[in-house]
Each structure stands twice: as C-alpha cells, then as structure tokens.
Subunit: 330 residues, 2 copies
C-alpha cells in the first residue's frame, strides 16, 4: 500500500497535533479526520527549546506510525498549558513547564516551527484544544452546548456554547477553581475548597501524603514504588482502588462528590446537553467513574428531566493532540 501515488495522495491530507503537558508530550498524525499515528515523549526540563525539540521527536514517532514523513505534513497545531496568545504565537504563565512559567511571553510557536524543520506551528491553550478534539471528532460531536472536564493533575474545563468554543474575556473554563466547599481543602492556587482541591490528582496526592504521614494505612506509596514512579499517578490510584485500598477509595469518593457538585451547579446555570469527562484520572478510572459522578449529580439538578448526558472522552489522553490537529484543519 505504500506506493508513491498513494503516499502523494495522503501527503496533502496529513496534519499533526501536539499536546504539551508538564509530564509528557503527545503527538497525533491525522489523515482524513482519523488518527493515523501517535507518539509520546517525556517532557524535558531544559527550557522551551528543549521542549520544542522533544515535541518534534513525538511528531516524528507519530509520522513513522502513519507511514509518512515531515515533508508530508501540511500544518501542526499545538496545545500548551498557560496564557497563550495564538496570533502572536507566544505562551506565558505555564507553571509546569520550566522556562515558560514566567509572565514574559515566549515565542514558542516559532521555536516549534524551527524544530519541525519549517512546518508552520500554531499554538493554543491545551484545555481549549482538548475540548475542540472531543467536540469535532469525539464524544462531543452530536452536541451544541457542551462542557469538557479534564480531570488530571489539575482540573480544567472547556465550553462549547451554541456550537462555538466559548472564550469569555479571559481564561474561561477554569472549572477546577469553582468553589464546592467554602473554606474547604487547599487548592493548587492556595485558595480553599475548589473542585480541584478534591478532584485534581495533584491535590489528591498531597492529601494522601499528609494522611499517610499521620499514620493512615495505605498501599498507594508501595504501588507507586513498584511502578517505579515518584508520583501517585492516575494508574497508581486506579490500581490501589482495584486492590480495595481504603484511602484511595476515600479520595476517589471525594473526587466524585466534588465533581457532582460542580457539574450540577454548572448544569443549573448553563442548561447543557452533554458533559465529556477526560484527563489522566478521568480516562484511567473510566466509565465506572463517570457513572458514579452522573448518579451523584442527578439529585442535585434543578431540572432532572433535562439532565446532561455524561460521557467519557473518546480519545483519552490523545484528546489534546487530536484537537490541536483539528485547530489547523486536521
């Protein structure tokens, strides 16, 4: 099938999507609206140029899987956390990316274009591209009024309202910083009682460490070491849950509780059609997690008859990469 004519035909159709996270960088090669290949590398901590080079590596892996080369790529879209000026191609305030955490905008799109050997790269906020991926190609396809919730290290959100990505006047979609329990558990931003305080993997880990130090029994840290990790990854939480660890169960129960409150409040305000739940923890805990959130949310809805459809993300941790490709026409 890899004859020259076929490759030429495919070539004009290839777009690449990149999703840059604090831990890993994912890439997807999209041909005719389908994922033809994907790649993943760990995020280096050598600054923005090193990140751009690593992203190019992930892209090469995705292209290899798709059986095409860089020359075949029409455009590259990229999702990156932080304050992104898409038109200027700059990013700032990205706390988990060394060298990009400051307030000074860094011309990351240009660095990425260089690293990709001249392929024009466009950047956008990572949460915005993730909802775009699920809306245009995944679970959110049938809907005009849609919330995407990314339950990962933090908790992010993206909104499609009246069939358009909603941007507001600033960083909209910060559902992780909605207040679910005034005066409650501390969040990553130092404020209290946020959704992310209870449902963000990062804050769940902080709580687990505190409780373990106080003598709470748990196999979470043992599992972490067995897996060769230094963090309580989503996989560690999932394994501990399967093995009946009480602390893991308690923390996931609290995440379900916090999500049900925040999502019910959003639904009562916005009367959405659907809510897609993704992110590392959302994907890893999967369908049973989403069903539990749905069940907990129902009694809190003002109009139970107009409950939103709750769905798992289609692309899992590739939502961002797929959406980034969609952004540039993939």
């Amino acid at each position: 099938m890899r004859d020259a004519a076929n490759e030429e035909r495919m070539a004009s159709e290839i777009t690449v999507g990149i999703d840059i996270g604090g831990t890993k960088i994912q890439a997807a090669a999209i041909a005719k609206g389908e994922v033809a290949g994907s790649g993943r590398v760990m995020t280096p901590d050598g600054g923005p140029k090193a990140v751009a080079d690593a992203a190019a590596e992930a892209v090469d892996a995705a292209l290899a899987e798709a059986g095409v080369s860089r020359d075949d790529v029409r455009a590259a879209g990229t999702g990156i956390p932080g304050s992104v000026d898409a038109d200027a191609g700059t990013v700032a305030n990205s706390p988990n990316l060394p060298g990009l955490e400051g307030a000074e905008p860094i011309p990351f799109a240009a660095m990425l274009t260089d690293a990709l050997g001249g392929v024009t790269a466009r950047i956008e906020n990572d949460v915005r591209v993730a909802i775009l991926g699920e809306w245009k190609r995944g679970a959110g396809k049938p809907f005009e009024n849609l919330l995407g919730v990314w339950v990962g290290t933090g908790v992010g959100g993206g909104l499609v309202l009246r069939n358009e990505l909603y941007e507001g006047t600033g960083p909209a979609g910060e559902i992780g910083h909605m207040i679910v329990k005034p005066g409650g558990r501390e969040c990553s931003d130092g404020r209290k009682g946020h959704l992310e305080s209870y449902a963000g993997r990062g804050r769940m880990e902080v709580t687990a460490r505190e409780l373990a130090e106080k003598g709470r029994k748990t196999i979470l840290f043992e599992l972490m070491e067995k897996k060769g990790r230094t963090r309580l990854s989503s996989g560690v939480f999932a394994s501990a849950l399967e093995k009946g660890d009480k602390l893991a169960k308690e923390l996931v129960d609290e995440a379900v509780w916090a999500l049900s409150i925040a999502l019910a409040s959003v639904q009562n305000l916005l009367a959405l059609e659907a809510i897609v739940i993704g992110g590392g923890l959302g994907d890893r805990l999967g369908e049973p997690f989403v069903r539990r959130i749905d069940d907990a949310m129902q009694p809190l809805l003002f109009v139970p008859d107009a409950a939103p459809t709750l769905l798992n993300s289609t692309f899992g941790d590739l939502s961002g990469a797929v959406g980034a490709a969609v952004m540039v026409g993939g």
Copy 2:
C-alpha cells in the same frame, strides 16, 4: 406639548413592556428607547384572565403617564415567570401565579392581547427579559459577556454571552440553584445549600421566622406589621438593617457571602466582563450591597486581574418591563 401632531409622531414609537410577578405587575411605556411612563398594580389571584386584565390596567396607567392611549401602542412585550413557549404564546409551571402553576400550557399571550383590546402581546420568561432590559438599555449596555442576577423572593439569573442572550437547551440561568454549601440550608425547591437558600428573600424570611420562634430577638416582624405587610419584604429587611437589627444583619451577611461564592465560581468558569445585580432585595439594599459582594468575591477569583465589573441594575424593579418592551422593538 400634547398637540395632535406631537402625539401622532410619538404614537408610532410607543411600545409597552409588562413584567408579571407573584406580588405585583409592572408596566412601562417606552418611547424612543426611554421610559415615558410606568404603572403598577397588585397581582390578583383570580386566575390567568384576571392577571391579564390587571396587566392591562398597569399598561393603561403607564400610557396615561406617557400621555398616550392604547391606540398608540405598536406592540406589547411581557415577562412572566415559568416555562414560556414564546412562539406558542403559552406559559406553564409558574408556581407563584394561581391558575398558571400547572404543567398544562396556558395561552396567556392571547388572553393578554384580548385584555389589551387587540394589541399583539408577546410573552417570554421574566428573568430573560430583565437581563435584556439591563443589557440593551441599562447598566449592561457596554458589555458582550454579562450576567444579570435578580435577588428577589428567589434568585434568578440571565446570561449574555458573546453579545447574545444565552438560552442553553432548557431553563438556563438558574444561578439561584447553584450549590454554595453542600448539605447547607434548605432551598425553595427542597434541595440544600443553594445560593437562593441564603440570598433569596423568601428563604431569608423562612430562616428569620425559625430563629424568632426559637427566641432570637429581632425587630423584623414589628417593622413588618408597622408597614402593614404580612411578609418580610425587601423594604422591611432594609429598614431593620438601618436600625441595626442583629438578625437582619446576620441574614444579609449570609446573602453577601453566598453571592460572593456563586459569583466567583461563575466568573472562574465564564470569564465575564460584568455582573449586574438587581431584583427587589438587590435594588433595595443598593450600592452598598453590591460593593460588599464585590469585596467578598475578589479573594475568591482565580484571575483577580480580570475581575468582572459589579453594577447595580439601572431600572430597579422596572428592568423586566423595560426588557419586555425591548423584546418587541421598544
């Protein structure tokens, strides 16, 4: 100034707006985008036709103040609580209007057209027309992303997003039923810990009565009787607050607290430009109330630099009537 030529010129410009509430019906006559006259009658409890007749009375009062007659009216818009089908001209599920509280849609627009002697009446949900009034003619004029919060007997909300009224897929804007304290005080819908549980005048009255029965000292009920009321109206709360009543202060403090939490959560999600606060209690407590909510909200914002502008409504309890007129071109 009331010469025939002048009246004729004005005639083609007159639209009427009606706001039907559980307690009172308000009407405004709008000429060239300005309120030329207003009228108010108490809401009768004799069923939908009696309500339509009373609305016509309020309209006549507004027209008299504007110096015009029914023949001069181009169109009449009406805001009414409940599930409104604007195109069908029907209303259902309006709990505070006797005869309209059922699930059966009542052809109220036609009844109103009859009562107005043939002037075409269009109906819409009351909260939706109120935000329309403030957005098109009042405090919300400069903004494209705007929340209106109506702090009255209940707490309602209306959203303008990207320069359009936001409707969602059902009854959007139910900000009063956002959860500010899980498991907290009971709300009008029987659920717990809603914004309305703390900031709705109706629920504040329920709490005041409970605490008074338990022996809490307060002048609220004395003031109510002096004013010849059977309910703790917004005016009663305002007077008690002025006189330093501790219970009134406590209840208003809680309303401020609950509003600050809900509004911060909405802001963190939607990145709005402005929030307009109206409704009976919002208008009566006025600027100091809005400033207190603003102050309490600031520390809860995820992006304090992008704080929304908090404003009092321009038209006070006429917002709904003005918006209803705007709906039909006024």
